[in-house]
């Protein structure tokens, strides 16, 4: 009888700890009038270039800080800092994403209540960062034209957890077989409420509209 298999009911959500941490962090940020945006994309989609173009427009209206998360390098933070925005680099040490605890550590290190807006540039991939809530007020993603219009089919979770999508490198569209109508339909299939901006961080096309939208979003939270 001693060796009989018994069943223990567990019923625990393994992401619950992180989700709770994220919820508390979000409340703290709101109370200190700091808006956190979590920016996600593949490597090479243009996260840092898009950030630089965005910062040039919103920096006049908002005090912005940037938290760069990379597995092991600090080139992105150096580029942002060289352009005049405060940036810290978090080396995730092999981790493929940021979780709420790591984000909290970064926010404390940069004394986040000083900022109206903190932008977390998450680790470059469309898989892992989607799984872990960070406490952000806004999940934003970039998908660039060269990556192809099939990505919503391959990474549905990422497209479902974001509220805004920047379609970057629009200047490549004439050279590509990317179908914007098909792409939009695939995005809406997963996330009917997604706000979509078509931009080119390089030429500046469409960045104005996105920057205005983001500024309004931030002000709606920080007052």
């Amino acid at each position: 009888m001693n060796d009989a298999v018994r069943i223990i009911e567990v019923k625990e959500d393994i992401l619950a700890d992180n989700a709770l941490m994220a919820k508390n962090l979000n409340a703290e940020l709101t109370a200190s009038k700091t808006f956190l945006m979590n920016l996600m994309a593949s490597p090479g989609a243009g996260k840092t270039t898009t950030l630089l173009a965005t910062l040039a427009l919103i920096g006049k209206h908002l005090k912005v800080g940037v938290m760069e998360a990379d597995i092991d390098s600090k080139v992105d933070a150096e580029k942002i800092a060289a352009a005049g925005t405060e940036a810290i680099q978090i080396k995730t040490g092999g981790f493929c994403h940021m979780d709420a605890t790591m984000v909290k550590t970064g926010l404390d290190a940069m004394d986040s209540p000083r900022f109206d807006l903190v932008i977390l540039e998450n680790v470059g991939n469309l898989v892992c960062p989607a799984e872990f809530e960070t406490g952000a007020h806004l999940n934003a993603m970039i998908l660039s034209i060269p990556e192809g219009d099939d990505k919503p089919l391959k990474y549905p979770l990422m497209f479902s957890v974001c509220q805004v999508l920047l379609v970057n490198k629009m200047d490549y569209l004439p050279l590509s077989d990317f179908n914007l109508d098909v792409f939009r339909e695939r995005v809406r299939a997963i996330n009917p409420d997604m706000t979509i901006f078509e931009i080119s961080a390089k030429t500046g096309e469409g960045v104005d509209a996105w920057a205005q939208w983001l500024t309004a979003r931030v002000k709606s939270v920080i007052g």
Partner: protein, 116 residues
């Protein structure tokens, strides 16, 4: 990619329950994983085997049940299942509405465990 932190979280929860239930060995773990998750069953098992080495849960079999993606229509409240891989814009089968919110499909639940 992120199998390792997920498997570490599973192991921590399993060992916590094992300790409070005088468990000698964990034989199997029943997981409920949403269809939106990218984790493959075989890889989850391999990573679990790696992180659980030397613990009470070494050798435990992961029994993984996939939970379908279900949306609730914002207009009429009807819940319906969708296939996220077909790329078709889902319309509510009851009222034709195109605004929905996610009800299930993202979960990582440990339902129960078989132990000695």
């Amino acid at each position: 990619m992120h199998e390792l932190p997920v498997m570490n979280s599973i192991l921590a929860v399993v060992l916590k329950h094992a300790a409070s239930n005088q468990v000698k060995k964990v034989v199997a773990i029943h997981l409920q994983v949403g269809e939106l998750s990218d984790l493959e069953d075989a890889w989850m098992q391999q990573y679990f085997d790696y992180v659980s080495k030397g613990s009470l849960a070494e050798g435990a079999v992961l029994k993984i049940e996939r939970i379908p993606v279900v949306m609730r229509c914002s207009a009429c409240g009807h819940s319906f299942r969708i296939n996220v891989k077909d790329g078709m814009k889902p319309l509510c089968p009851e009222c034709g509405g195109d605004k929905h919110s996610l009800v299930s499909g993202r979960e990582y639940l440990i339902k129960n465990m078989e132990v000695l």
